[in-house]
Symmetry: D2
């Protein structure tokens, strides 16, 4: 999973936000961000744009992990449902491949927010379509 | 539209990313981000998470502009289609209310990327559901 | 779950298509349609519109089952990913509530198609937002 | 646009529902269904599954109209927002191509319901991803 780690690290946006690649296995990927004021929306929760970035990364790199060497992954489209206010110490997106394919890979990511108690609360979920492209 | 400007500015995430509120009228909102390495994905384009953040802001504040004073706006869900690689000097999301409502407001945002030539290329579009909540 | 059965049966569309309510428990609902030429798209598979109708029913009635007596359920929005061609003897949507709420209920439905061998193949998945309304 | 008419007519589902291909031009397609009890959900409106079928057809055939001869069109994914109760004499989906492509075509369809007064009310909108495949 060195390839996933390398492509993850090549994202200026992920670095700027302080995202962490917590886990990467074939068809599976976990991305995290600890809470900070710089990640909040106007009422103090994690911003929907940040949760989306976590989930997009988790889906995209889960998809990339099953693609032939040398391919890059691009997001074709995604949809998120925001089920609960995302408040807590750490946001974590867990992405998995639902169906790999030669052209398109379908993925889902659940976004949990970890509370002080350690409990992980499901706050959002994403369905995504990823595409493998030759560089 | 002072309320929109105030709520926009209250987002730590928007400040951290350098987003600009370019326009705010009833049912309409434009948010921009000039290109920078800190906004890119692994192949150098604007990151899907950044484009989503712009579109989410444009939809959310277009919705808020039609809500009763004192309400806050939350993102219930959204979906984006990424039609073209988002490469250029400036990304701009233009949000509009499709249907306001007492509980839910339906919105759409188009995301264009402005080229060196000045041409604005449509790169993504979002359909979003926003909810007004009492603080 | 008599209420779910009654509301399911009140749909002219479900009757016209020959849908069956296969299971209804709190927060969970299964809807089926046996294959027929009248349910196909132009290449002979189950039509995306039919798979959507199954999934919309499965999500909607899973949501209704957790709502206060007397409320009706309406579809606010949904998104489906079609992962594989839907070909086989029977299409079955299994809906579950991800997060119930006073106003909005978030649901997901998986659509499987049962093969002659008995194998159930995942062909589509839906994320949906449902709303409870007073009649 | 004979090809669109032929592929539209090849759908058992469209025939069973009484759908009409009202217009077909390059990158543009209109599909209609007059109201009937057999198209309703449990409160008497046009069923979300029927509105989806109209919109899916309008997007799919708008996409097909721009594809090379001999290709078929398949729905990869779509999302609909249901903005208003769909009640009236006729439901009409107007689909257009937002961005054609060699592999994927991005489309949008608006669904209006025509009232007795003749007014057409926007009730739903779809964003869709369509794929061209060799037969």
């Amino acid at each position: 999973m060195q390839r996933v780690a390398a492509r993850f690290a090549a994202q200026g946006f992920a670095t700027h936000l302080g995202l962490r690649l917590a886990q990467a296995e074939p068809g599976h990927c976990v991305i995290e961000a600890p809470f900070g004021e710089h990640l909040t929306q106007h009422t103090g929760y994690f911003h929907a744009g940040l949760l989306t970035t976590l989930a997009d990364n988790a889906c995209g790199f889960a998809a990339l992990s099953l693609m032939p060497e040398g391919q890059e992954v691009l997001s074709v489209e995604f949809k998120l449902s925001f089920m609960r206010p995302a408040t807590g110490m750490l946001a974590r997106a867990t992405g998995r491949v639902l169906k790999p394919g030669k052209t398109l890979t379908f993925c889902q990511a659940d976004v949990h927010v970890v509370q002080e108690s350690g409990e992980a609360v499901l706050c959002a979920t994403m369905l995504a379509t990823m595409m493998g492209v030759a560089p």
